[in-house]
């Protein structure tokens, strides 16, 4: 690409934690959902693991909170180019839910779905091994509704549209099945370190 005449950009800050094409949003936390923010009470919230599992399971708010707590501390990266450093989300590791539902041997992919009908697809391997959580706290506060509260999925090693807000369940499949943004031209995997923003990247 050619140099843009007269463009200097901000003073460079060396930051090894910043994937290519991303910038540090600092205290900002932009909201980019395409649907109306739902008013979802914790008493209405449920989380289900279904599809190719030994036992389909659904947890209520209280039942999910009875599982062993787990937190993510680290960075998040949005496809619109902002990253946020040193955030903390608390909830339960997705492994705890999957272990109870017992994925079938043929399960290779998953679709995460929300109480709003939002969907996003992921390889199952991106959801296991301590890399994905169902979370209800940001810092020490309940997760705000516009950021996915009462509870959202987080898969922080992928672009954040994979971290479905208002999470309702995970369906295990034996094939890949594009979700909402993936049907709208976004990449199927969304690895920020390889800049997998749009399909074809």
């Amino acid at each position: 690409m050619n140099v843009t005449r007269g463009f200097a950009g901000r003073p460079r800050v060396r930051n090894d934690g910043l994937p290519p094409g991303q910038y540090d949003a600092r205290d900002d936390w932009p909201v980019l959902s395409a649907e109306v923010t739902p008013e979802l009470a914790t008493s209405q919230w449920t989380f289900t693991v279904d599809g190719l599992v030994a036992e389909e399971r659904t947890w209520s708010w209280d039942e999910a909170h009875a599982l062993p707590p787990s937190a993510y501390e680290g960075d998040i990266h949005c496809v619109t180019s902002w990253s946020k450093f040193g955030v903390r989300f608390s909830g339960v590791s997705l492994d705890a839910f999957l272990d109870l539902a017992r994925p079938a041997a043929e399960a290779t992919h998953a679709v995460a779905y929300s109480h709003t009908g939002y969907t996003t697809n992921l390889p199952l391997a991106d959801l296991t091994g301590g890399r994905a959580w169902i979370v209800w706290e940001y810092g020490d506060e309940p997760l705000p509704a516009e950021h996915g509260g009462p509870a959202r999925l987080i898969v922080p090693h992928l672009y954040f549209w994979k971290s479905a807000k208002w999470i309702a369940g995970i369906r295990l499949l034996d094939h890949d099945e594009p979700g909402f943004w993936e049907q709208n031209g976004y990449h199927h995997r969304g690895n920020p370190w390889e800049e997998q923003r749009y399909s074809g990247d």
Binding site: M1, N2, V3, T4, R5, G6, F7, A8, G9, R10, R12, G21, Y23, D28, P30, V31, L32, S33, A34, E35, V36, T37, P38, D50, T80, S81, W82, V111, Y113, S114, H115, T116, G117, Y118, T119, N121, E146, A168, G169, R171, L173, E177, P178, G179, F180, W181, Q183, N184, G185, R197, Y198, S199, G200, D201
Partner: protein, 258 residues
């Protein structure tokens, strides 16, 4: 680009309450390829916003409501990229127009407002995302604030250019008349709302339940497809008013500028 409506496949879409399907299938090749764009014209819209017109010879075409990604490169290889909605209608062969607010301290918008001049080259890729696209088929109720009017103006321009008869209404909010983007282009389809200062005899205030109620009362058979665009704060406010007034959540599309 095809204009078929994509529907979620049954396996991936369990019983849900607010699923909003995309409007069109998007071209993956257009989304993946960076193209050179030459700035041909700059038009001032308000003291804080200007329109930038680009020649993009290989532009694949777009639908009103879509956006693109634009990048600038510094001498040392440093790249800054941002999303911008497309302001121009589709029938503008090989050209696209963007309207940018001058964001205080903004890296990309700052370059456009203080350095850019006709002849400069930038790179862009797109069009992106079929979700906020309006092919000109369904009756559309458009609600925007500030630069959130940009993708909605592409829809209004398309409606006029094609002499479409499908109903279209625009509710646009600005801080004051001097900050209203595209002020000279609005017609009878548009209601303006001023939040800080207004001409003599015009009320000052936010987009309110009464505005939305009037527009919903005026809905054609089958109702409106609602498109809401602006800051997150505005999008939350306007979408909440729509829901409270009875607009179905699965017929509200929201583009938030972050």
């Amino acid at each position: 680009m095809s204009s078929t409506t994509s529907t979620p496949s049954p396996a991936a879409a369990p019983a849900t309450r607010f699923a909003v399907p995309g409007r069109i299938a998007v071209s993956n090749r257009a989304a993946a390829t960076w193209q050179r764009a030459t700035l041909t014209e700059v038009r001032r819209e308000t003291p804080y916003a200007s329109t930038f017109r680009f020649a993009v010879p290989a532009w694949a075409g777009h639908l009103p409501g879509q956006h693109l990604m634009l990048r600038l490169r510094a001498e040392d290889g440093y790249v800054a990229q941002r999303h911008y909605s497309i302001a121009s209608p589709p029938d503008d062969d090989g050209h696209v127009e963007l309207t940018l607010d001058h964001v205080d301290g903004g890296e990309v918008s700052g370059w456009f407002h203080t350095v850019a001049k006709p002849g400069d080259e930038v790179e862009l890729r797109g069009p992106l995302s079929g979700f906020f696209a309006w092919p000109g088929d369904r009756p559309a109720l458009l609600i925007g604030a500030g630069s959130g009017v940009v993708p909605l103006m592409s829809m209004v321009r398309h409606h006029r250019a094609r002499n479409l008869t499908v109903p279209l209404r625009l509710l646009v909010s600005a801080r004051g008349p001097e900050e209203l983007i595209y002020a000279s282009e609005y017609g009878p389809e548009t209601t303006t709302v001023f939040t800080r200062s207004a001409p003599e005899g015009v009320a000052v205030g936010r987009v309110a339940a009464a505005h939305v109620a009037r527009l919903l009362a005026d809905a054609p058979d089958g109702g409106w497809e609602a498109y809401v665009c602006g800051s997150n704060g505005f999008a939350e406010h306007a979408s909440r008013l729509l829901v409270d007034a009875g607009q179905p959540v699965d017929r509200i599309r929201i583009e938030r500028f972050g």
